[in-house]
Amino acid sequence: MAGRASASGAPKGFTLPQVPKILVYIVGFIPAVWLFYAGITDQLGADPMRVLEQELGEWALRFLIATLTITPLRQLFSINLLRYRRAIGLLAFYYAALHLTTYLVLDQGLDMAAIVADIVKRPYITIGMATFVVLVPLAVTSNNAAIRHMGGQAWAKLHRLVYVAAIGAVLHFILVVKSWPPEPLVYAAIVAVLLGYRLVRSLVKKPSPRRRPA
């Protein structure tokens, strides 16, 4: 969802066999379908609601991280997966929406007073909500019409919000757990590396005005 819109497009380096994008969605939704099925058929252990809620959130983060690897893979290893980035980014959004729905409906039972109190008083909920809000305009503009309408430069600028979303998502994860268990820290480290890479690259390589995406 982030970085530059497809500009170079030159078939250099590694070419992977192309698969239909619909396949990315189908494969991407397997975890969600499995989780709901397992939850309803009592296969998620003693606290199925919590497992469903956490797993959906974790998948959203995984897809978010996957979108952030597309650009470095292309720049560092000439592996071009750009055509799947929109699908992966939208999957991140759909999982975030399912995660949020699970929290609202199954966890809180749509108790609006409790939900509002959570958003106001609990930083991890505040950050989680804000992260979802940030993802909404990115999902809404993840289509060709929006890119045409906005212009590539403005679109790319907007989609840099995905960096904010990634930081929000790992913060949300770290703040929800007790002490410092490894999992959220590993995700935080991955996000730090992926964003750090971009920062270093932008500092080292001054962007030449002519190579701006069209």
């Binding site: 003693a46 609601m49 199954l106 039972g109 409790a114 959570d118 008083k121 007790k178 002490s179």
Partner: protein, 314 residues
Amino acid sequence: MLIRRPSDILPSEITPREVYLNRRQWMTGAAGLAVATALPMGSEAAPLQAARSPFSTDEKLTSREDVTSYNNFYEFGTGKDDPAAKAKSLKTTPWTVKIDGMVGKPAEFAIEDLIKSSALEERIYRMRCVEGWSMVIPWVGFPLADLIKRVEPLGSAKYVAFETAYRPEEMPGMDSIFPVLEWPYVEGLRLDEAMNPLTLLAVGLYGETLPNQNGAPIRLVVPWKYGFKGIKSITRISFVDKQPPTSWNKQAPSEYGFYANVNPNVDHPRWSQATERRIGEGGLFVKRRPTLMFNGYAEQVASLYTGMDLRKLY
């Protein structure tokens, strides 16, 4: 005249509600026990004889499966299923519990002697985790007060400190590259809390010796406090004059206090404590239930804290 009118019946002659409820509960307990003993057990779970207790709740028990597969025992990892998967490596025989500090009779008890010499009771308690979920667990154990009386604490003893086994080679969660807590796990109670008849040293659940993941061979159960106060696999109990350090309090003092009494009005800084999810109730569609002051044990323990500001001393 042999037939008395209702007004002649003394209130004391009517079966108290507690006893009546206990009978029902004993039946369900016995049924559960029959099922449990009929099943092949993985570890060397041994049946325990235990008397019923008026302190037991008659709420629906959390299944044995859930009680023994959904655990927080960070010495074996931070995942809820880690303890059940990894705690088999803990060697619980031989096991001794050292009693030291300000006591007239310091001692070192072999666990089997401690069990044999104690009057075991079944105590069905609610267990409220600080994370916002709860269970109803049929513990088998004896009041900590019984042990305390045997070792004769000195007048100077004001607190009781507990320590979990420190065995990195048997506890794979301890050498994690991200140390979650400082080991060994330590806990503590004020002496009057320790002497309260509800405070239990549990050696079993569901009529059998404790599975390792639940804190074998002996653990603390303090039903009006958050679950993390219930220190597991105890090797040492010390009587001291100052408030002893406790593991979660050391890890995050602003989040976990020494007292850690269940209190729906005092939130954890990061989440609400007003409600809880009862494990095994409703599955995916579990409904939250209100959390009770002192986890519903206010009648027995509220007096321990009169005059204390429970917002400050959380």
